[in-house]
């Protein structure tokens, strides 16, 4: 799955679970913090991690579950790209 397709899947998931058609508007900027903008709360982050693991068939190590890796759209996409590239190499 390329970056654009994964981004769309995340938007669809956010719309389905929390924002019902308003996810894009809520996110605003792909670098903006999900927590600060109310895109996800702490429970939502846990649900996102489980969903991403199941979707991409990867295990996200506990040491990587942090705001540095998951608190914005770009951070999530960067992290997933790094992980998938690491597994291919």
């Amino acid at each position: 799955m390329d970056r654009g397709a994964l981004r769309q899947r995340i938007i669809d998931w956010l719309d389905d679970q929390y924002h019902f058609g308003e996810a894009e508007q809520k996110i605003g900027d792909d670098d903006a913090s999900f927590l600060d903008r109310g895109v996800l709360d702490s429970l939502g982050f846990v649900a996102l991690i489980v969903w991403l693991e199941d979707l991409l068939h990867l295990a996200i190590d506990r040491r990587n579950i942090s705001r540095e890796n998951f608190d914005s759209m770009n951070k999530i996409l960067d992290y997933v790209e790094r992980r998938l590239a690491g597994e291919r190499s």
Binding site: L43, V46, R62, I65
Partner: protein, 495 residues
């Protein structure tokens, strides 16, 4: 000694003077804080100071050991060996920390409960009952150290190399009695730097201390003897109105006691140039239970979330993706953490189940929103929000019955009295000036979250400094007149 006690009038300025007048070096600053914290601890549990030092030594040593076994930059085989060794180290250290807590806090509870079960099964036993003094703040210091160990184990934070800084991180005296529960990533770096005084920190710290003291000593310590204690002592002596007043009074007391003390701790921390985590954000304004627990005792609930809920629901166990059952586990642990009694376990269980029900409702409501967007708008309507607020706060209020009652019998008596089954007595005294002023302060504290309150605070902040100084001075005089010195109790200190 406590932050709200008379001794603090002498202790705090003396420590501040030593801290800031001495060399501007972190070892000096940490040394002063370590000695002050040890003295503070000594006034509560002189014989158990060695136990605290030993616990700190174990977690510090285990952290260092984990640090010298990194998983990066070694061969696959070596990484496997190290992974196993790291697991042993962290398990051993966590068991040691939790074991100390278990022996001192829970040994009596579990042995008594086991004896009662065996007795009910017709197998009466008689074994010596342990009556151990509870070390000061052990529930807090244990969570701080376990959190640190897990962070180092998961390589999310480096192990601390400075034992003095680490000791202060665990046992900094303002946080000893009732938290907040410090987290390694935010707190430890502060003790590894030299702290410098700033006028803003002094002003903010003093204001927080004064506000916290008002909540704690003026509001909570008034509500306890006038509303709460008589009703919970013998609920059936009272009529329904008095019983409800007692319960509502307890909600006021509990928040003011704990949020007040936490704010005082924050203020004192700031006076030393240390920023402690915020522990309360107006929980009585929450419109769902999940929101409530994000605003009440934040440092405990984020700890439970990060180290229990998240690993449970994202791991490979049966709990994966199952938030509802995980809420029950987390809140049973939270109940037990508050105290080794069945009333706390019941309180935790009720909150766990209620969060599960709320989560299920949330999922159902999402289904409605997916079918028809009108449901999204309905959820934002004033009537929906008001109903949510009433349900959330009403539920929390009712669960305070087992939380405060000394046993399940008294809890049942209070429920009976609230339903009009008591003998109809009234509370001995009316509100009086102090009661009215205390409740007005409590209400104002919450109104300050809304626009008129924010405007009033902004207006006050813009007044010239001398005018604000006089206002604070008058406030202190007012408190000196109305707060009975030395009468303070600490609800969360007993946990």
């Amino acid at each position: 000694m406590s932050l709200a006690g008379l001794e603090m009038v002498f202790f705090l300025p003396a420590v501040l003077l030593l801290y800031w007048a001495g060399p501007r070096h972190r070892h000096w600053q940490n040394g002063v804080l370590a000695v002050a914290s040890a003295l503070f601890y000594f006034t509560w549990s002189p014989r158990l100071l060695g136990l605290l030092a030993a616990a700190i030594g174990v977690s510090f040593g285990a952290g260092r050991w984990l640090q010298v076994l990194p998983l990066e930059g070694v061969s696959q085989e070596e990484a496997t060996v190290r992974r196993r060794r790291r697991r042993w180290i962290v398990t051993g250290a966590v068991l040691a920390e939790v074991g100390i807590l278990g022996v001192f806090k829970y040994a009596g509870f579990f042995t008594n409960s086991l004896a009662a079960i065996l007795d009910a099964l017709g197998l009466p036993v008689s074994w010596p009952v342990l009556h151990l003094a509870l070390p000061l703040g052990i529930s807090y210091t244990t969570l701080i150290q376990v959190g640190y160990l897990l962070e180092v184990y998961w390589e999310r934070t480096p192990a601390c190399r400075d034992p003095l800084a680490y000791g202060v991180f665990v046992a900094f005296f303002p946080q000893l009695i009732a938290g907040p529960i410090a987290r390694a990533r935010e707190q430890l770096p502060q003790y590894l730097e030299v702290r410098r005084p700033t006028p803003e920190a002094v002003a903010t710290g003093s204001r927080e201390f004064l506000l916290g003291f008002t909540l704690k000593a003026f509001v909570a310590d008034w509500a306890a003897p006038h509303l709460v204690d008589p009703v919970f002592q013998s609920p059936l002596a009272f009529g329904a109105a008095a019983a409800w007043a007692g319960l509502l009074g307890y909600a006021v007391q509990l928040f003011s006691d704990f949020a007040g003390y936490s704010l005082m701790a924050l203020g004192v921390g700031r006076l030393f140039g240390v920023v402690l985590p915020v522990n309360f954000r107006h929980p009585y304004l929450s419109k769902s239970l999940a929101e409530f627990w994000r605003r009440w005792h934040i440092s405990l609930n984020t700890w439970l979330f990060d180290y229990l809920f998240a690993p449970l629901t994202t791991g490979r166990s049966w709990f994966r993706g199952k938030a509802g059952p995980a809420f029950v586990v987390v809140f049973l642990v939270s109940g037990l953490w508050h105290g080794p009694t069945w009333t706390y376990v019941l309180w935790g269980g009720l909150h766990g189940v209620a969060l599960w029900v709320h989560h299920a409702w949330d999922e159902t409501y999402k289904g409605l929103c997916r079918r028809d967007r009108a449901w999204v708008a309905r959820r934002r309507s004033s009537s929906y929000l008001l109903a949510s607020w009433v349900l959330t706060q009403g539920f929390f209020l009712l669960t305070l019955i087992p939380f405060r009652a000394p046993n399940l019998g008294v809890a049942a008596d209070l429920v009976r009295a609230m339903a009009g089954g008591g003998s109809g007595g009234t509370l001995p005294e009316g509100l009086g000036f102090q009661g009215a002023a205390a409740l007005a302060f409590f209400v104002a504290w919450h109104v300050a979250e809304f626009r008129p309150g924010a405007w009033a605070i902004g207006w006050f902040e813009r007044l010239p400094a001398p005018v604000r100084g006089v206002a604070y001075g008058l406030w202190v005089v007012f408190l000196a007149i109305y707060v009975p010195l030395g009468a303070a109790t600490f609800i969360y200190g007993q946990f």
